[in-house]
Subunit: 263 residues, 2 copies
């Protein structure tokens, strides 16, 4: 009998051409499916809560798959650890409700974008942050971010339709858009029911222009109303972005409690 | 006229076969001398305060060299930045007193060893820490470390004479040997007038055995008196070790002030 499994992951995206499988390219999904298939003795096809782009990291990615293997569900993560490269960490595995789908059942995703504000580049954070020099008006950036909250058409931050899946909608509900400082780090926490490709990075690129006073904070509302990608700012680099956490409904969420504390 | 230059560096040692130049191998010195020679237009031979081993990192390495180039001394670091790989950071450069030698004139070196104590491996710290699982008696580790303070023969932590330079002495004066916690990180700060090869890592390997109650803290004094490497513990992994800072005498130290804040 096939059993549904939920697997929680962290990874450094630097060395990967993104999460999603691509023939002949090194992707997180490609590595995971190969090693899960070897471990479980049958082909594994997994579904991920967030298909992160090349260079984007994760601390709380969730994937689901089915297995007929007899290995206890909770042991899969540990058995996988020694097989995975050291930039992909299997945090935990558990049996999930029948039919559990990490992508379709996710209620919200929380991404964090990190900007490095130190005078010197940093050894530890250089792969996980975008260094931005010069003055930044962080208050203006927060005021502009407040306009993102709620349900909106995010077309102006989503890029060309050709890069998006067919029939994709650009309506999203943002429930958190918060800038905060941690010493030399400037973090942007963004949570929504879902994100389109490059959406967080385009938002951050635009908000940094607000911080540099190239745009007024009040322009963000107009920008969203325009639904015109050409009016927004540039795409911020991938390395500053991390998928922090995926939330599920109450029935599916029990194994999600200690996500962020773990990494 | 040849001018003495002091250059301060940070680097991630993961990809290098150590600091010191070795023909045909990728070393930090090899990369630096190649790029400095190209930048300055003449062969550059540098001297480093600490010849870190393969996989060991630095946040405050200091090197010295002479140049006849007309580029202002303070500009060398910036000009070097775009030429160096992204795991070697040129922090700052300055004109030094004539004859300045980063190695011979150093009064003390400060190394930090970092142990990861989190339940899960960590994405950010995995290259800069040694994960140690299970209980550790940190108080006993500190008591044992106190025995290191002062002037001693460190032969029992230094390894085979064949690995050391000819006529090297094993006498060192340790001025700091402090364990401290930062959330899931357990740091060991060790400062001395100098360190022999593997000395910090052998001390840490032995102190972790104290933490695991395989050794009593009081044995460290006897161990040093024995001057027998075979009685000490194993060598802790390189990736947990970072050269934090090198201190010079008052006349040479002026450019050393903001070392640790910068990285």
């Amino acid at each position: 009998v096939a059993c549904a499994i939920r697997l929680d992951l962290a990874y450094e995206g630097t060395a990967y051409r993104g999460f999603g499988r691509q023939p002949g390219l090194c992707t997180v999904q490609g590595v995971l499916e190969r090693e899960l298939s070897r471990l479980l003795g049958h082909p594994v096809h997994l579904t991920a809560a967030g298909r992160t782009d090349a260079g984007v990291h994760a601390r709380g990615q969730v994937v689901s798959f089915e297995t007929t293997a007899t290995l206890p569900a909770a042991r899969i993560a540990r058995a996988l650890r020694s097989r995975l490269p050291d930039d992909v960490l299997a945090l935990r595995s558990a049996a999930a409700a029948p039919g559990f789908d990490a992508r379709r059942h996710a209620r919200s995703r929380h991404y964090r974008y990190t900007i490095w504000r130190g005078a010197q580049p940093d050894l530890l954070w250089r792969r996980f942050s975008w260094p931005v020099a010069g003055p930044l008006d962080e208050h203006a950036m927060q005021v502009a971010s407040d306009a993102l909250l709620g349900r909106h058409d995010f077309s102006s931050f989503i890029g060309h339709a050709a890069q998006q899946p067919a029939r994709a909608t650009s309506m999203r509900t943002v429930s958190r858009a918060q800038w905060w400082r941690e010493d030399d780090l400037l973090h942007f926490d963004c949570q929504a029911d879902g994100f389109a490709r490059h959406m967080v990075r385009n938002i951050v690129g635009t908000l940094v222009e607000v911080g540099r006073r190239k745009r007024r904070p009040g322009q963000i509302g107009q920008l969203m109303a325009s639904a015109d990608r050409r009016l927004a700012g540039p795409t911020a680099p991938a390395r500053g972005l991390t998928l922090m956490r995926v939330a599920y409904g109450p029935a599916l969420d029990e194994s999600n409690d200690d996500r962020e504390s773990g990494t």
